[in-house]
């Protein structure tokens, strides 16, 4: 199943206004790709907010008031 043909986008010029030449179009696509990743990475670089680290820690530690933050009271009965 190794089909490493480069994915060539089919001619997609259905509504392209005549002035867009394909070279420029490719550059715009590259720019879009860059922006997409940059936008995504900007958030990724913020790391893990405390809120989520705390959440996982609390859920992970039985008997330590997991129900207070998560509203999953079922687990609490276990330690009693």
């Amino acid at each position: 199943m190794k089909d490493h043909k480069s994915v060539k986008s089919p001619p997609m010029q259905t509504e392209t206004p005549g002035k867009t030449n394909s070279g420029l179009n490719r550059e715009i696509q590259a720019k879009i790709g860059q922006q997409l990743r940059a936008m995504f990475d900007e958030v990724v670089q913020e790391g893990v907010p405390d809120r989520f680290a705390d959440l996982l820690r609390q859920l992970d530690t039985p008997g330590e008031k997991a129900s207070e933050t998560t509203g999953n009271p079922k687990d609490e009965g276990r330690s009693g």
């Binding site: 994915v7 986008s9 089919p10 997609m12 509504e15 420029l24 179009n25 550059e27 715009i28 696509q29 720019k31 879009i32 790709g33 922006q35 997409l36 990743r37 940059a38 936008m39 995504f40 990475d41 900007e42 958030v43 990724v44 670089q45 913020e46 790391g47 893990v48 907010p49 809120r51 989520f52 680290a53 959440l55 996982l56 859920l59 992970d60 039985p62 998560t70 999953n72 687990d75």
Partner: protein, 182 residues
């Protein structure tokens, strides 16, 4: 339930990109964080159904994506007359959404149909393969490919620019407004 530390680390490691995915989908940091929180709770509640050795990121992305889809449908019904309110909420949190140029880009992304946007983000930003993206969205690989292609074409049109130097905020905004079919 005691969580396998390895699984917990994998989940934690996925949180930053889950947030980025959530923000890209919803265009709103607060909603994205709620989505991530809900995703984590669901993941932990269903951790037994995760198969160790498979892709934790893909698993979590699937959960978040499905949550967003179901919530979005509900919400759409609730606010269907308050058309501009969502865009307003974006404007009122400019700092949260990072630098100006990304806001323009996000605005353009918002113009895409949901399924095109998510396909583009999964493949073009999150680094998933077409196959993984197809799994996450529950559709065929070919469908993902065509959605990504259509998303790129549409974005290029939305960000219609005479030359690349014009890719800045104002031009993009105008392009988006002009592209709005109203």
């Amino acid at each position: 339930m005691k969580l396998d530390p390895q699984l917990r680390d994998q989940i934690l490691a996925a949180v930053p990109s889950l947030r980025a995915f959530g923000i890209s989908l919803s265009g709103n940091v607060d909603r994205a964080d709620d989505l991530v929180q809900e995703t984590l709770l669901r993941a932990l509640a269903n951790i037994h159904s995760f198969q160790p050795g498979t892709n934790m990121n893909a698993w979590l992305f699937t959960i978040l994506r499905n949550l967003f889809r179901s919530e979005y449908r509900k919400r759409k019904r609730e606010v269907e007359d308050a058309d501009g309110s969502y865009a307003e909420s974006l404007k009122s949190h400019p700092d949260q959404l990072g630098r100006v140029e990304f806001q323009e880009f996000r605005a353009a992304l918002k113009e895409l149909p949901d399924e095109q946007r998510e396909a583009l983000i999964l493949v073009g930003a999150s680094g998933f393969s077409y196959e993984e993206a197809a799994d996450i969205c529950g559709c065929a690989v070919g469908t993902i490919k065509s959605r990504v292609n259509r998303a790129r074409t549409r974005l290029a049109k939305l960000m219609h620019v005479e030359n690349l130097e014009d890719f800045g905020p104002d031009k993009a905004t105008r392009a988006i407004l002009a592209g709005n079919d109203r």
